[in-house]
Structures are given as structure tokens and as C-alpha cells.
Amino acid sequence: MKFTLSWLTDHLATKAGLDEILALMLKAGLEVEEVVDPNQTLKDFTVCKVIEAVPHPDADKLRVCTVETVDGTKQIVCGAPNARAGMTAIYAGLGAYIPGLEFALDKKPRAIRGVESHGMMCSTKELNAGEDHDGIADLDDSLPLGTPAAVALGLNDPVIDFEVTPNRPDWLGVQGIARDLAAAGAGRFIRSDAKKVPGSFDCPVEIKLEAPDACPMFAGAMIRGVTNGPSPDWMQARLKAVGIQPKSLLVDVTNYISLDRARPLHVYDAAKLRGTVVARLGKAGESLEALDGKTYKVTPEMCVIADGSGVIGLGGVMGGASTAVSDETVDVFIESAWFDPLRTARTGRATGIHSDARYRFERGVDPQSCVDGVNLALELILEHGGGTASKLNAAGSIPARIDKVTFYPADVERLTGLVVKLPEMRRIIKDLEFDIEDAGDAWYLLPPSFRFDMEQSADLVEEVARLIGYDSLPVTSLPEPVGGRRAITTPIQERVRVSRRVIAARGFLEAVTWSFMAKDHAALFAKHDPALAVANPVASELNQMRPSIIGNLAVAAQRAANHGEPGARLFEVGPIYLGDGPKDQRTVASGVVRPANQRHWQGKPHAYDSYAAKADLFAVLDALGQPGERFQVGAPTQPHWHPGQAACLKLGPKVTVGHFGAIHPGVLKALGVDGPMFGFELNLNALPQMKTRPTKTKPVLQRADLTPIRRDLAFLVDEAVPAGDLVKHAVGADKQLIVSADVFDVYQGAGVPEGRKSVAFEVTIQPLEKLTDEDIQGLMDRIVASVAKGARGVLRG
């Protein structure tokens, strides 16, 4: 919302200057977005007097002028055809910045075709202050030398633009702004209620309301014999200052009242109206050619204004072209109605029309302003366009609000900590035009009809606090929490924190990628879930909530490779979505590696592979206090993993906590990514909660006194038997004594029968008491038997 300082003073008697007004706006909650003060932008320009203007000796179109300026008498070379002796013009000294030309004059005089020029005389266009093309500004000779250009051009009126919050539609009129500023201490609010304009004949236009919910009240009047010429200069100047192009008196008056009083109006050329004007709901098949020249389809949802010719306007949104006023308009019909905010908003959305009327009606126009609106318009039109007014015609009515708001003055201190004396509260509430019924601890307040945001005591607390100023509130640090302190984070958040650090320490860069991905890409990771489709995606490739992070990371790794970073290791710890319910979100730690082809002078380095992914995943588990040996490795259960080179990690038959290995080449191809890529995915929610011990004290160290014994064993097994099975059965032979069995060789080839493989591992035995050779041999025999029984492994000789 834009307004000018002088416009504000129509409604506010104040001594405050611009800076003070801006500070008070801020204090009252009117967030200033921009201030354009021509006194500042035009400060380098002043009125000058041309004493002499002679032709330039070397150029036909140039004149050499002698000019009386604030800087003394200057010689200025001027190209304007209208430069002449005796002229009053605008002078810009050397070095001045010319806003309309977007450059600054040289600081030293410049020779133009051999004649020095000590400054410039400007057109209003060069000052961004007008459109004249005749040459330089030719001003009234009564203006004294040195008058600031802003004053001389009548532009010394700062324009303020501020944000109107949705709760305060009354700020969409300058009057409403003045009321709040007066309450904030800027001065005295000047009441300027609409005066009843007597009509000399009955309004010949009949008004009928057929949809009282959509349009409960419609007031109107006619003026006969109006001259629809240009509106007065002051009105045009104000409209232009706030960015509205003046059109004609009738249109300008409606715009002016909308800006001045937040009261939208519409004017019809009465000669073009056909019969009764009806406010009703639209009908299927109807349409309207609106004032913007576009044709809109009307729906039964919309409130329309219609006459015998059909729809002539979208109520509260935009009028129609067929009944629009023009220069030829002689009889004008003024509409001042009230339209339901929700319906107006829906009509606005459906048509895409953004009009000042829609903006106001959907936020709420004072329901008691219909009659005033007509009278304000009549007064201005009669004064500047002549004619005779009809009596006012009004259909429907809107009952005034009668329910009062209970305000407890003690709530001000209770909720804000601010101590305010009762008379001060009363003054503020009065200034805001509430009626006060003081009942001691509770005040019963009747809000003014233009306020829709007053419901309960807290609403009044804000009014009092903001108009005294939030700066006056105390600054109090929070007390110690009631009941003492607790751990800041939950166990899941702690897992997020730890896993991020472990993965980053292992060479991965942390990414944050979109929670959405393309629907067809998402389908590569989980069966399509229609409940997770985004109905209004910001881009078509972001139209499904992601069931996995792997896809986004793989695409990002490829993008990095395309930009010269072939070996990207990326990870993200973030959400995936298994459904649209509040418990269907999981926090997952995922990593993706696109192995780069590395070379090294000592030999080819081992490239990142499924085993490296396994190492990374188990490092995370280890850091999270999850012993790796409790998990079982099984075939992958998600579709985006290589069926033979990836695995899932299980806790028992039912719980899958993660996956690792090679990403499915078909999935990579569908993602448009070059393989191979490897990765891991750990569901942080699926991990069991480790038992918290009642004390921080660690258990006593059970030191192993005896030296561990190590023995190598090699078995021949069917090639399909996983090495992990052998290890499991070897350790299973005596879980007390056997600490580990570490595979160091897997071999197929000469010496090993077709279809079988040799797996060798080192068994580590931790004796609890001294073991004899016989004891050890007995243990070895049990291992051999266990592996034979469990994995059909045969000890190699």
C-alpha cells in the first residue's frame, strides 16, 4: 500500500516529519518497505533564471545561455528548442546525478562544440518527474531563484510503501493509517465522515439482491449531466504518486476513494444499463468481457452483477466493458456494495484477476461503509464534474456488530510484562474507535465496524502493547526450566548427529537434496504410492515424495562427474516417506559413491566397491553402539540394488535396518546415470534402542591374562555357500573360547574341484585357563565338525 505524506495529513493533524512518521509506522506495525522522497532525489536541482540565450557559433540546434543560478551566473550550452531569455527553468550544477538519464554530470565544465557548459537545464522527464517533450521545464516566472525543484514541480511529497498484514484491511485506506498513527502518538486524527448528499430525484436504476449471502447490501445513486473530463490536478498528482494512472474523473474518483477510505466503488454509464441491476450468482454458460479487455467464464460459484443484457460485472472483482464509463458518459450510476470475502477470493483465484477491489473485498471492507461510499463519490463528482444527483437507493442491509469483546486490563501485564496505567489503555482503545463499557476488572468493548480481528482479550493486549511500543517491554532472560534440565536431543537425533560425523570423516560430502523426486524415478525405488504424489509440484520432476535418498544422490554424483568431479562421495541423513501418515516418515542415512578410476605408482588402487560400502555402513553402526555381529546379511529386499552384489542387513527375520552394495544397473540407467555406483542406506529408526545403564560408571575391565591362540583353517565348500556361513558355524563351535574367525583367502581354480571353493580363515581363541595341546586339538575338531554339519565344509588337508 502506497500513500503520500501530504495525503496522510488530510486525516492526521501532526507536527511529525517524515522520519518520525516512519518510526511511528514501524512501532505500530506498519512495516515500511520503501520510501521515495523527491526532496532527496531532486536535492541537486533548483530553479534558475535564463538571462540570455544566443545561438551557438558552431551548432544550429544549440544555444549558449547565460543563467542566473544558486551557484552564481553560469554559461550553459543547451539543446532544448524552447530555451529562451527570461525563462524560469531547472538548473543542475556540475556533478549532479540526473535520475532520468541515469548518469552524473562531469565535475568539471565540459566544452560542447568549443563552448564551455557549466551545468545543465533539465526537462521534467530527465528528473523522472513528468513526460514533457517540448524541451526543458518552463516554469512559472513567479518562482524565486533557488527554489528546490521538488517544490517548484509540486513533487515535494514523499511516497511511502508499506506491507498491509492480512488482519488489517482498514490500512488499505489512508484514513485507516492516520487513525493508527494518531493512536501511536503522531498527532490528532481528523474525522472526515461522509456528508449526506441530498438528491433531487429518485434513483431511476432499480437494484435487486438475489444472493444475499454473496452480496447482502448494494447502495447506489445516479448523477445526471456529468462531464467526465480529467480529474482535478491534486487528485491526479496523488494517484500518480502511488502508481495509478489517471483516466477520467469518474474512474479516478472510485480509485481515489478506494485508496483514501478502503472503500471500493464501481461506476456504470447509466445509458448503457438495461433494466434492473441485480446482484446474483452466476449461471453456467455466462461470460463477461471485463474492463481489462479479457473475457472470463462465469461460474455459479461467482457473485455477478447483471442487468437485462446479462452479466455486467464480477462482484467485488472487476466491472464489465459493456457498461463502462467513457468521455461521452453523461449519466453515471455509482455502485457501493459489500461482497462476501471468501467468495470474492475464490472468484479472484478462479479468474486470476488481481484488482484493487478484489484485494480489499477478500480481506474485508467495512460493512457499514456502503452508504458513505456513495455519498463520498457523489460529493467529489458533483464538485468536479457537475450534474445533479439522485436520491440514494439501497437494497439489503448489514446488521451492525453487537457482540462485545471482553478485555481484561490485567492481561496486558500478564502477557507482555508491561505495566500500563488504565487511563493510557483507555486513551489507546478510544483512539482506535472502540466503545468502552468499563466494568472494573473486565472491560466490554465494541470494536469499530472496520475491524475484523477483534475477538478476545489478547487481541486488545496487542493493541495496547504495540501502540505503546514493543521497545517499552521488559527484556527478561528465561528462568531455569521448571523441573530441571533434560537431555536436549532424542536418541534418533543423536544417531543423526553421530552418523553424519562418521560418514563425513570417512570421506563423504554432506548433501541436502529435495524431499521430492520425479514420479517415474521414485517408482524405481518403491512401488508407486498415489498418496505421496504432489498435486501441485513446483516442477514436473519434483512431483513425488521420495521413498529413498539414493536416487537424488546418484543423480547428484553424476552431475558432479559431468562437472569434472568423477569420484564424488555424497551422503545425506534425512527423511524418506513410506506413506502419508504421521508415522510413515523415516530418517535414513544414505551414501552413494561413484568410483573414480584411480592410478597410483605403487599399483592400481582398490576401487570403491560393495565391500567398501559394507565397511562404511558397519563403521556407522559401530559408532552408534550397534555391534556389527548382531546383524545378518541377506539378499536385498529393495528393487534398486544389484541382486547379486548388494545385500540387506537384518535383525532377525523381520526387521531390515539397511542395505549396502552395488546399485542396480537398470535403475542407474533409468536415472540417466553412468554406472557402476555403490551405496548404503541405514534406517536410523529401525535400529534397536541400546539399553541405557542406570549409572555412567563403566563395568570393571575383564582383562584376558592368557595370550590368544591363533590357528589357520581352510575348508572346501560348495561355491554357493556364503563365507559368512562358514564363519558363523566355526565360531558357533564354542562361542566362549572362539573370539573371531577372519577369512583371509577365498580360492577357486587348480586343486579345487569344479563347483567348489576353498575358504581359509584364522580362528582366534581366547583361553580362559591354560589349554593343553589336546584341548586345542579337541576344539579344532569341534570346529571342523560344526562347519561340516552346518555348511557341508570339508577341511582341506
Binding site: G29, T165, N167, R168, L342, R414, L415, T416, L418, A458, D459, E462, Y470, D471, L473, V475, T476, S477, L478, V482, A487, I488, T490, Q493, R500, R501, A504, A505, R506, G507, F508, L509, E510, A511, V512, T513, W514, S515, P530, A531, L532, V534, A535, N536, P537, V538, A539, M545, L553, A556, R559, A560, A568, L570, Y577, P582, K583, Q585, H600, W601
Partner: protein, 358 residues
């Protein structure tokens, strides 16, 4: 026994002249070996008279010790020389690179800032709470006092999920505030929670991304008023920007879920594309806040006459930009290795109020 002196002289000379360990050993054998000269003299002691023995015994012993000591000393010298000679042949070129391993990765600045904020508010007794990204209309809007069809709903550019047959569509939460509702409905006051999370709005340009990050705070406790809100948030910005002289101001604003509502600005200096908080004369909006709206309390089953408190919400991506100087929001979500390495944090940095945030 006049030749003791001579033998000693000769033996020491031979030891000194030995150029190798083998040569030295030959000298040792020649003097101290079973048939060596010194050993020969020593074995002659047995044949001497007690008086002679008394006189020559100590001399011979001294000779033996001197020669043994000289051999040991010479041996150490020769061993060192031999080792030096051997090492001289074992030189490798250590300007060559080691076997390649991954460079240490980095943490994303937004995640780091989340942790910084949690550390600061944790120090003030807040605990972290979380809630789902996919919300229903009630938790995201209605319970937060956004009336049906209210223009404030439109300010949020909401993403909707496809509605089931005849159902209302789920929304992607437009703010972290629904977690306030979930917490107030599931836990009893006093409450002091901090809610970090992803939020979504259908807007994508130079200063907006369709997904971004917020931190929400909620305090519901007896006697908590707007002065505490100011105090708590001023304490926060001082700690977050790590400058003591932050100048903050609170302006009235409108949020449906708070009453009274405010926005907080901090004073800053903008120069050369950088923003410095604690200097300058410009104002920078950092967050929105207010006292929890009585309608919101009622919607959560709390009586506004007996319960009160404040809430605040801030955009983490912008705070990260302000503090760490990222010029643009868009690369946050592009997983660009160059950007992440440059603006990211080492994995061993853990923000804490006492240990330093950054």
C-alpha cells in the same frame, strides 16, 4: 712384566686401526681370545709367586679391562658406520604420493546451523522435538488459527498431495509450527521445545526454494510473558552471531497463531555483499514470534486463562547465509562438491555454547 705397557699400546693401536667388525674381532681374538696375548699373560699368573702375583695381578686385570673396553667402544663406532652405510643404500623418494584415500568430507552448513541453534537453546533448557513433513490441514492451518479461506493461508503457497477419493488432501507442512500443536496435545506443560525441520512452499526464485529449513520454538510455562520472549531471543542472537553488542528491535506484525505478534530485526552493516551483525545502521529481519494465540491453546486443550507462553520461528537457511556468507540459497540443495567443501564444516566440529559454536 715390562711388556704389559707395550702390549697395551700395541693392542689399543690395533683396535683403533680395525676398519671392520671382522678385523676388530680378529684383534679381539688375538689379544683376548683363549690363545691371545693378554689371556696368555693372565694364565701365567698361576705360575707366579704370591708376591709377584700380588704385584702383577691388578696390572694384568687393568690391561684386560682396558683392551675389552677399547674393543667395545670400537665395535660401537664400527656398527654405527656399518648401519649408516647400509641406510645410505636404502633411500626412497618421499616426495612421491601415498596410496590414495578419500579426502575427509564436510558437513552441510544448514545442518551445522541447526546444531548451533539447538546448542544455544539447549543451554536455555529447551529440548528438541520433531514432527512429520506430511501434515494434515488441521495441524498445519486450522489448529494454528488460520481460518478456512483466510488470506493468510494464501501467503503460504502450500504444496498439496493428491487427495484420496472423497478425502481432503494432505499438505507438505508450510512451517514447523504444527509440531507445536502435536507437542501441546501430547505433553503436559511446562514445555520448552525447539523444532528443527524441513518445510515446503510452492515458490522457486532467487530468494525462495520449494524446500527450506525452519526452527520453531515454544515455551508454555506459568508467568512467561513477552519480556521473556525478548530476553530469550536477544540472548539467542548474541550467542548465534557470536557478538555481544547485537542491537535488536521488535516490531508488531501479524501471525495467525500468535497474539501479540512481532518480528525481530537486528542491526547490521551491509558492505560488499557481506552482512555484519553488531555493526552498522541497517536492520535485518531475523524471525517472527509472539505469545501463543489463545485460540491455539484452546485447540490443543489448554485453557488460555491458566496457560501462556511464547513461540518463535526462523528460517535457518537465511541465518546460515547471514552468518557464513553464502551469497545464494540455490546451491544449498544441489549437492555440489565444490560448494560443500568450501562452505561445509569439518566432521569433528560439534557446536556447543561453552566450546564455541563455530
Amino acid at each position: 712384566m715390562s711388556d704389559i705397557k707395550t702390549i697395551e699400546k700395541e693392542a689399543l693401536a690395533a683396535i683403533d686401526a680395525a676398519a671392520s667388525l671382522d678385523g676388530l674381532d680378529a684383534v679381539r681374538v688375538a689379544e683376548l681370545g683363549k690363545k691371545g696375548r693378554v689371556s696368555g699373560l693372565m694364565s701365567g699368573l698361576g705360575k707366579m709367586s704370591p708376591d709377584e702375583r700380588k704385584e702383577n695381578g691388578p696390572k694384568l686385570n687393568a690391561l684386560k679391562v682396558t683392551v675389552e673396553e677399547a674393543v667395545r667402544a670400537r665395535k660401537a663406532v664400527l656398527e654405527t658406520k656399518a648401519l649408516e652405510a647400509q641406510l645410505a643404500t636404502e633411500k626412497v623418494d618421499l616426495t612421491l604420493p601415498p596410496a590414495p584415500g578419500p579426502r575427509t568430507g564436510t558437513l552441510h552448513p544448514v545442518m551445522q546451523v541447526f546444531e548451533e541453534i539447538a546448542a544455544i537453546f539447549g543451554d536455555m533448557g529447551f529440548t528438541v522435538a520433531e514432527g512429520p513433513d506430511i501434515e494434515d490441514d488441521w495441524h498445519n492451518f486450522t489448529a494454528l488459527n488460520f481460518p478456512e479461506g483466510h488470506p493468510a493461508r494464501e501467503m503460504h503457497d502450500t504444496f498439496f498431495l493428491d487427495a484420496p477419493e472423497g478425502g481432503t488432501p494432505k499438505v507438505l507442512r508450510t512451517h514447523t509450527s504444527p509440531v507445536q500443536i502435536r507437542t501441546m496435545m501430547n505433553q503436559k506443560p511446562p514445555l520448552r521445545i525447539l523444532v528443527p525441520g524441513r518445510v515446503y512452499r510452492n515458490d522457486w526464485d532467487a530468494t525462495h526454494t520449494p524446500m527450506f529449513h525452519q526452527v520453531e520454538g515454544l515455551v508454555i510455562e506459568e508467568g512467561i510473558h513477552m519480556g521473556h520472549l525478548k530476553g530469550c531471543l536477544i540472548d539467542f542472537v548474541k550467542a548465534f552471531f557470536e557478538v555481544d553488542n547485537v542491537v535488536a528491535r521488535f516490531r508488531p506484525h501479524f501471525f495467525p497463531f500468535t497474539e501479540p505478534s512481532a518480528e525481530m530485526d537486528v542491526q547490521c552493516l551491509r558492505e560488499g555483499g557481506m552482512v555484519e551483525v553488531g555493526k552498522g545502521a541497517e536492520w535485518l529481519e531475523v524471525l517472527g514470534c509472539g505469545m501463543v494465540h489463545p485460540n491455539v491453546l484452546r485447540n490443543c486443550g489448554l485453557d488460555p486463562a491458566t496457560h501462556q507462553g511464547f513461540a518463535f520461528g526462523m528460517g535457518v537457511d537465511r541465518l546460515a547465509m547471514l552468518k557464513y556468507g553464502m551469497p545464494d540459497l540455490r546451491p544449498y540443495f544441489e549437492a555440489d562438491p565444490q560448494w560443500t567443501r568450501h562452505y561445509g564444516f569439518a566432521p569433528w566440529t560439534t557446536p556447543s555454547v561453552s566450546g564455541g559454536l563455530s
